[in-house]
């Protein structure tokens, strides 16, 4: 490792940006490239800078004329996937699994994206069941169903309880390892980076003030990630996603 890539600190903004830019461009030497790749896992600031550069350059790939892959490639890929250890485990698990509740059978797209059509029914049902006592709110209201990425099981429901506040309601008792905490993040499509809305305690209702953000808009992303007990040290999500969802307008 040479001095260019060694020990990048989050404060070293310009050097980090230069390195991330060249990493995405592909002009680093082999050793430098590998060094950056190795640091991505542990350096969230570097990871964020790389993601930003990828986003900046991505439209240039429209300059390349698409070419159809050979017919046999997809079967070759599926054969490889079948050989993966987790594919074998998943098949065994599927054989042993109980039938899923009706709401787990929904097509993923509907659930992930705005809870339209069939998905909207879930939102409406959950809203009616959970928020019946809530006083009527003036103006536009939103709600979000936060689900686990692996099995899409709903874990939390959110609703705007006023224009400046969101209520986060647990549907169960999420498990959080010792020394860790769940941190709530949100990102609207037009924002460059997610904003932290603070830590939440598993199994507890919480009112989240919206003073850090302009408000809630349709299809805004919300997620809970696993972070150190004092929250993310970088101001960006660093741990795995535990629950995720997007806002949908309910009135």
């Amino acid at each position: 490792m040479n001095s260019f890539t060694s020990a990048i600190t989050p404060n070293d903004g310009d050097r980090l940006q230069a390195l991330a830019g060249e990493y995405v461009l592909g002009t680093l030497s082999r050793a430098e490239h590998q060094s950056v790749a190795a640091q991505l896992a542990t350096n969230p600031a570097l990871r964020a800078a790389v993601a930003d550069w990828e986003q900046r350059f991505l439209p240039l790939l429209s300059l390349v004329e698409p070419e159809l892959p050979p017919e046999q490639l997809w079967p070759r890929i599926t054969r490889s996937l079948d050989q993966l250890p987790q594919a074998k485990a998943a098949r065994a698990a599927a054989a042993a699994r109980q039938p899923l509740p009706w709401w787990r059978d929904l097509e993923s797209l509907a659930l992930w994206r705005g809870l339209t059509a069939g998905g909207f029914a879930i939102a409406a049902v959950l809203a009616a069941v959970l928020l019946l006592q809530a006083a009527p709110q003036p103006g536009t209201r939103y709600m979000v169903v936060l689900v686990a990425p692996e099995d899409r099981a709903p874990g939390w429901v959110m609703q705007t309880s006023s224009t400046r506040q969101i209520e986060l309601i647990p549907l169960g008792m999420a498990e959080v390892p010792a020394g860790k905490a769940l941190e709530l993040w949100t990102k609207a499509d037009a924002w460059n980076a997610p904003v932290s809305l603070g830590l939440v305690k598993p199994g507890q209702r919480v009112q989240v003030p919206l003073d850090q953000i302009p408000g809630v808009q349709p299809n805004q992303l919300f997620e809970l990630t696993l972070e150190p007990s004092t929250g993310s040290p970088t101001g960006r999500p660093t741990g795995p996603i535990h629950f995720i969802g997007r806002s949908v307008q309910v009135s």
Partner: protein, 188 residues
């Protein structure tokens, strides 16, 4: 293969892959495999190697989908970064093994990205095809812009770029570093 659709939801498909839905990977493949192959082939040059890299890319997209976080970047960008990284590594391996002489490389179709760039420019299709980065690149001196395109689209090493634009390696390195600073400022 079905025709790619314009309002394809990459994020939903990738999150469904993370949830273990094989059909979502197939939808993603049908949507993006043709462009992904072209991008990979541009970098590795060799057809058979490009297919191997593309195969590995799709296996990686499937196995690593759980590490994708929509808050940290777009799903489409994530997919391309997986494929481009594999392609760049394969090309660097290939270069080291074969140690191709510059003359051999020169006969390969390296002018294509620049030709495509000029065609896009002439058609005035900036906003549609390359958006903000297109505008900001066009503000760079042409030779510096070419360096960025040779690197990003063609996957050339700095040494190869230096040979291609007939400039010293150190100059090319400095150009690229300054261009990145200018692009970042222009796009912020």
């Amino acid at each position: 293969m079905p025709v790619p659709c314009e309002d394809f939801n990459y994020e939903a498909a990738l999150l469904a892959c993370a949830a273990g839905e094989r059909a979502a990977l197939q939808r993603l493949y049908e949507q993006e495999a043709a462009r992904l192959l072209a991008v990979v082939r541009r970098i590795v040059r060799d057809g058979a190697l490009a297919e191997d890299v593309l195969h590995d890319a799709w296996v990686n997209i499937w196995t690593r989908a759980t590490s994708f976080d929509p808050a940290r970047g777009s799903a489409r960008g994530w997919i391309y970064s997986v494929a481009r990284n594999l392609a760049l590594n394969a090309r660097r391996d290939d270069l080291r093994e074969a140690d191709l002489p510059q003359e051999t490389l020169q006969v390969l179709d390296d002018q294509a990205s620049l030709a495509a760039w000029d065609a896009v420019n002439r058609a005035g299709a900036w906003a549609d095809s390359a958006g903000r980065v297109g505008h900001c690149l066009s503000e760079l001196e042409p030779v510096r812009r070419d360096c960025i395109l040779y690197a990003y689209v063609d996957g050339l090493t700095q040494k190869e770029i230096a040979a291609r634009v007939s400039a010293p390696l150190g100059t090319v390195k400095a150009w690229i570093q300054r261009s990145l600073v200018a692009l970042r400022a222009c796009m912020s």
